[in-house]
């Protein structure tokens, strides 16, 4: 492989990784706060892409209106799901929450089939995302750096919110101890709602960028990215936002590089994510950034 090709693959891996990372953050935030794996999160990714698609195709909105609007609407759907399917079950055994999350996932996928139709739709990229950029011998299309930069901006905003704002401080407190957070005069329901909103917004952004990278959308398109992003979140140490980002990038780059270096194995591409996951769980069950939880006596 030439150096140019390596750079091309690396760019590709990082852009895929940043998509995994965007989606993984939602898993990890919800887990950090409610100890819930939100199985419906992948389907939020799909909704984000479809809302953006219809914004452009049906309502003739320019992309710079349709995409942000889709992110906002999908964040709203995330909030509704939390309110309707998770909040009423919060005081029950965790298995009820899990079951509800699986149910929401099936509901969204099947509603997608009914409303959007099961046939894949072509997602049209804005023209400026389709320009070929030459890097030495190799070339990438302009959407690759655009994905990376957009994701980086969103990460920066998220890190700012979590670490530098009052509501972010409450989120960090909540992830440690919900009851005591309430004793601080903080409306914990509202903070949980805000976390779902943030996570769903990032997932919607991930879905739109995913559709830009792989411009065919269908109601089940969120399943695989959702699963991979979940693996990324576990790789990074579930509950840890920085870990989710790291895990996402790691998974994206490794996946692309294995295919690039061993083209014969490209058919097993999706299997690598699981191999990495199994190895990690064997040798470092808490993930890259995860804390070792002391056993409570």
């Amino acid at each position: 492989m030439t150096f140019d090709q390596f750079i091309q693959n690396l760019a590709n891996g990082i852009s895929l990784g940043s998509l995994y990372a965007l989606i993984a953050i939602g898993y990890t935030m919800v887990y950090g706060i409610l100890r819930l794996i939100n199985f419906a999160h992948g389907d939020i990714v799909m909704l984000g892409a479809y809302v953006a698609f219809y914004g452009v195709v049906m309502f003739m909105l320019p992309w710079w209106v349709a995409f942000p609007l889709a992110i906002i609407l999908t964040a709203g759907i995330g909030v509704i799901i939390e309110r309707a399917a998770y909040r009423p079950l919060r005081s029950f055994p965790r298995i009820n929450l899990f079951t509800s999350a699986v149910a929401v996932s099936f509901l969204l996928e099947n509603l997608g089939n009914v409303i959007f139709g099961g046939r894949p739709k072509a997602f049209e990229r804005p023209a400026f995302m389709d320009i070929a950029l030459q890097i030495g011998e190799a070339s990438v299309l302009s959407y690759t750096p655009i994905i990376i930069v957009t994701a980086a901006i969103l990460f920066a905003i998220l890190i700012y919110i979590v670490n530098r704002t009052k509501v972010g401080m409450a989120m960090r407190a909540l992830s440690k101890d919900i009851e005591t957070t309430g004793l601080m005069g903080i409306n914990t329901d509202r903070i949980i709602m805000f976390s779902f909103m943030l996570g769903s917004a990032l997932a919607a952004a991930g879905g739109i960028l995913w559709a830009i990278k792989f411009p065919q959308i269908n109601p089940l398109m969120g399943v695989m990215p959702g699963l991979k992003a979940f693996i990324a979140a576990v790789l990074g140490g579930i509950g840890n936002i920085t870990g989710a980002m790291l895990g996402g990038f790691l998974l994206g780059v490794v996946e692309i590089m294995i295919v690039a270096f061993f083209p014969d194995l490209s058919g097993y591409r999706d299997a690598f994510a699981y191999v990495i996951l199994i190895l990690l769980l064997l040798f470092r069950p808490t993930g890259i950034m995860g804390e070792v939880q002391a056993e409570k006596v």
Binding site: K176, E179, G182, I186
Partner: protein, 236 residues
């Protein structure tokens, strides 16, 4: 300030509180004493809206607290230092203190109040930007207390402040409470297993036993009472 009448609580089938009544007058320190499992923490958790009572009333300055969630009770002027301190170990000392003031409207005064807490507990200022998890048990207790004060409570409730602290440190913490009460007129409801220490700073005390109030009286009288001395203070 706080009036509890005939409070009953059930946990599943267990009758945890059998109709307790107590009264916390303005600017006093009231101690709630008793062994493990007597229902002391349950009483505080009822006041904070964490546990729902089956029967009875809880009035704060004449207004019922029943049916409110913790954050709403805090906004009405009650703060609680939970048992085991429960500081946010992943947040810095400064952030813990700021969180305590989360619900307040005058955020510009918060900075000033954090300074006041630092003045009360200088150790916290030295460690302001360390994660609270790196503090010692005594320092965490001071932080938990400072954090509760940040909401400017009219009623401060403290669950077992001396739990897990050395006798010397417990005394320091209790002395701080006494100072606070004397200097600012802070009303305090104090839960303790260490009856002797609690009686030394309280004005009035209730002694609980398996979900009921067994005895009550002025702290000074209880400390002299033979039965109390034998049963709760271990003096024969």
């Amino acid at each position: 300030m706080l009036e509890i009448q005939n409070l009953h609580v059930f946990y599943g089938g267990i009758h945890a509180l059998h109709g307790i009544s107590l009264n916390v007058p303005d600017e006093k320190i009231i101690a709630l004493l008793g062994a493990n499992g007597a229902g002391k923490s349950t009483t505080l958790r009822c006041i904070m809206g964490i546990v729902k009572p089956a029967e009875g009333s809880i009035l704060l300055n004449g207004e019922s607290l029943l049916g409110y969630k913790s954050f709403e009770v805090v906004k009405k002027g009650v703060a609680m230092v939970p048992e085991g301190r429960r500081v946010f170990t992943n947040l810095t000392v400064y952030e813990n203190l700021s969180l305590g003031a989360y619900a307040r409207k005058e955020q510009d005064k918060v900075r000033q109040d954090i300074e006041a807490v630092y003045h009360l507990f200088p150790r916290l200022q030295e460690r302001a930007f360390q994660p609270a998890g790196t503090l010692s048990g005594g320092e965490q207790q001071m932080l938990a207390l400072g954090r509760a004060l940040m909401s400017k409570p009219t009623l401060l409730m403290i669950d077992e402040p001396s739990l897990g602290l050395s006798p010397l440190l417990s005394q320091t913490v209790l002395k701080r409470l006494k100072d606070l009460n004397r200097d600012t007129g802070q009303t305090i409801l104090l839960i303790e297993q260490n009856a002797r220490a609690a009686l030394s700073i309280a004005d009035y005390a209730y002694i609980m036993e398996v979900g009921s109030i067994r005895l009550e009286g002025a702290a000074a009288d209880l400390a002299k009472d033979d039965q109390v001395r034998q049963t709760y203070l271990g003096i024969h």
